[in-house]
């Protein structure tokens, strides 16, 4: 199988991740629950994970790094912390359901900063027009999970800072690939999964949080235990219950892999592959590729449509041919509305550090055969 669904989960993991998970299972119990050796070993690993994240994302204080189950968990915390019913929230036209659904559930007054795909400047202008002092917060996806479009998070963060509006960044597709600089962004929350560009196991995530964070889960934290409320400080107030230590250890190793490769080199590799894929698929009759002119502000995620069949059919055929891709709306109907693909969805191919040029060439050949009806 050639795996091209890394925007969902990176399937190939570094060997160090597998070893770290196994070691955690064998040698670590639960951090914050005891002073004996295997509990303290777990505590050290958890701290190392926070330190590594703080270094990778320029977080000033390790206490601001909270461990979550995934990015959705982090986004739910962020939204529940800041937004009340009726609050006006400005979001990009490329948000995932992990943002839309929590906002809808809270009863937020959602305003979409619409802009054409791959038009970076238009996205800045759209936010500039809509962010006002009465805006409760802004939520922006760093990179669209459907189109790989990099949104102007740093420019939008400046707009937010100038107008005193809190910012939530969804770094699901950018963490480990693009610069995610918490110090520069000044966001109240940056949510990210551990299992995509950070190469950790599924069931892991990180939330870089400010003091505005409020718990959505209540339970034991190993601290302040006579208090019926959750502790008032980070990270304990966001980490009720037993930690996923094998996951944390794997995530820590995954971030070590990213640090050793560097996000810049990983991004260069992935973008080169996706660009090559876009160029090959664009030559095919009956295939419509969504890619940025010059591949500027686009990452290793590529969507395309085939005239001859639905995206699901194409995905199924590619699966039969040994290619793992995602088809449909990718849990992001808003992004498809923004681009006009809501009725048919798209086929999405997304790469990781482990994909090669040979695999991309084989994939392009497979799409060509499908497009020709062979």
């Amino acid at each position: 199988m050639i795996y091209l669904d890394s925007a969902a989960t990176t399937f190939q993991k570094p060997d160090t991740v597998e070893r770290a998970v196994s070691e955690a299972l064998r040698t670590m119990s639960s951090p914050g629950r005891g002073g004996y050796a295997c509990a303290m070993r777990a505590a050290e690993k958890l701290y190392e994970c926070r330190e590594r994240a703080a270094a990778l994302f320029n977080v000033s204080d390790v206490e601001r790094v909270a461990v979550t189950f995934n990015a959705t968990h982090g986004l739910n915390i962020a939204i529940r912390s800041l937004v009340r019913p009726g609050d006006r929230v400005v979001i990009s036209g490329y948000e995932h359901n992990s943002v839309l659904r929590p906002l809808h559930a809270v009863g937020a007054d959602i305003t979409v900063a619409d802009s054409p795909v791959f038009d970076y400047e238009a996205a800045i202008l759209a936010f500039d027009r809509l962010i006002e002092r009465n805006t409760r917060c802004v939520v922006i996806n760093h990179v669209s999970n459907v189109f790989g479009f990099e949104l102007p998070v740093y420019e939008v963060s400046e707009l937010c800072r100038a107008r005193g509006v809190p910012l939530i960044v969804d770094a699901s597709q950018s963490a480990g690939v693009l610069k995610v600089d918490a110090g520069e962004l000044g966001a109240d929350f940056i949510a990210m999964p551990g299992h995509k560009g950070l190469y950790g196991p599924q069931g892991t995530g990180l939330l870089i949080a400010s003091d505005k964070a409020a718990p959505i889960l209540y339970g034991g934290s190993g601290s302040d235990s006579r208090n019926p409320d959750m502790p008032a400080y980070l990270p304990d107030k966001l980490e009720a219950g037993t930690h996923n230590m094998p996951g944390v250890a794997g995530l820590c190793a995954g971030m070590g892999f990213v640090q050793s490769k560097t996000p810049e080199r990983i991004a260069a590799h992935e973008t080169a592959l996706a660009r090559s894929m876009a160029e090959e698929l664009s030559k095919l009759r009956g295939v419509h590729v969504f890619s940025a002119p010059g591949f500027v502000h686009q990452t290793g995620v590529l969507s395309f449509e085939l005239d001859a069949m639905s995206s699901e059919e194409a995905g199924e055929k590619l699966g039969e041919m040994g290619f793992a891709v995602r088809a449909g709306l990718h849990c992001s109907p808003l992004a498809h509305r923004s681009v006009g693909t809501i009725k048919r969805g798209t086929v999405r191919a997304s790469v990781s550090a482990f994909n090669s040029k040979t695999e991309i060439a084989a994939f392009a050949e497979a799409v060509e055969r499908i497009a020709r009806g062979v």
Partner: protein
């Protein structure tokens, strides 16, 4: 043997404190806070020797990482909060 306990609000905070002390070459150990020292329930503290208390507090002050409280633990488990 007497020792001092620097209580911390959380395990993560205790780990930050421990790293500052270790960097200052002060021997220290993260331990569970004895209930006799804890008004809030379970937690973690840093144990240091009496000879290193002053240097510990100075290092933590310089790092803006004050302990929550400081306790002296004497023979037989006797504990006493000390001002710092």
């Amino acid at each position: 043997m007497e020792s001092y306990y620097l209580t911390c609000r959380s395990l993560t905070y205790a780990q930050k404190v421990s790293r500052v002390l270790t960097a200052a070459r002060i021997r220290n150990m993260i331990v569970r806070t004895p209930q006799s020292m804890s008004r809030e329930g379970c937690g973690y503290a840093i144990r240091v020797s009496p000879q290193e208390l002053t240097a510990s507090l100075a290092a933590l002050s310089a790092a803006s990482l004050p302990p929550k409280r400081v306790y002296l633990m004497g023979k037989g488990g006797f504990t006493e909060e000390v001002a710092f």
